[in-house]
Symmetry: C2
Subunit: 201 residues, 2 copies
Amino acid sequence: MTQEAPSKSVRTRERILDAAAEVLSRKGYAGTRLTDVAEAAGVQAPAIYYYFASRDDLVEEVMWTGAHRVRAHLEEVLAALSADTEPRDRLLVAVEAHLRYELQISAYTTAAVRNAGQVPEHLRERPAAEESAYSRLWRELFRDAQDAGQLRADLDINVFRLLLLGSMNWAVEWWNPRTRSLDDLVRATQDMVRHGTFAHP
Amino acid sequence: MTQEAPSKSVRTRERILDAAAEVLSRKGYAGTRLTDVAEAAGVQAPAIYYYFASRDDLVEEVMWTGAHRVRAHLEEVLAALSADTEPRDRLLVAVEAHLRYELQISAYTTAAVRNAGQVPEHLRERPAAEESAYSRLWRELFRDAQDAGQLRADLDINVFRLLLLGSMNWAVEWWNPRTRSLDDLVRATQDMVRHGTFAHP
């Protein structure tokens, strides 16, 4: 089977989406102007309406893509681990994968994280299904570690999971590669999980 | 010295600010409409312009007030502790004060937290000075505990501080008093600090 090269139209749509993700990740929902997206994509602003019915349609597609991709990425990373990886080590791997993907790899995910609470209700519906699936994935990671007796007995895994995801998501607001390496951030976050949740032998 | 009752004009301005904080905390910067603020304040929309030059001026005042008040509140709470309170206990008290203030007491602070990364640059300047002072306060709390030898030796207090504030700030996005008590959230967050940072004897 040969894969056909994407048509020019598909590539242009992709370029507009990439540009929108980038602008939205930096400027937020209120500050994202289609003229900026068009300029970053190298198209005329009206051309965007050939591919997306409205500014909100474009934003929704970026938000969905960001939520979808980080989930797909984490599933892939976890599936690639050897079968005998300890549940608590899977948790640490997930922390690293989430941070690197959100902060370094995907402007879509940065945009989805930063604007989740800012876009109007009707734009929340499609991404919400992806976010629920992502939450389930994290719940399973914590539950597996708990079932294996690897977490401290008094840990509230539901609240801790939300605190952890919050601390990682908020990093999109403050992390700056010029003042702190991503490696340092990954290590500190893993330490927080290790010390904050693991059962001590 | 007797304190004069605030004039009607001062009270109306206050009511508009309260309403703006409430709307902004729920709907975010992009979704905050002056008509909603006016309705919540019980004034005609054009009346708002008698007190604030623009929608952005009103938003800036809310953001500044939210940043200012949470800092003033924390300083007050810490000042009220007895002088022999251990540095690490001061840290736990600060966690509780921040969460309760942000989630339960002040719509201004909820609004400031939720919209910090969303408002245009020129609205960031005034609140930023308050936020820096607040950061310094937390840095001192961590440094005092570290200097007292109460934190684990390998802890990166700068990254942990940012992760902790992030996890607490993100709670404005997910915490729902109907599904989880604030007491539970406070306890879990304090546990995260206790287990995640304290030196074990």
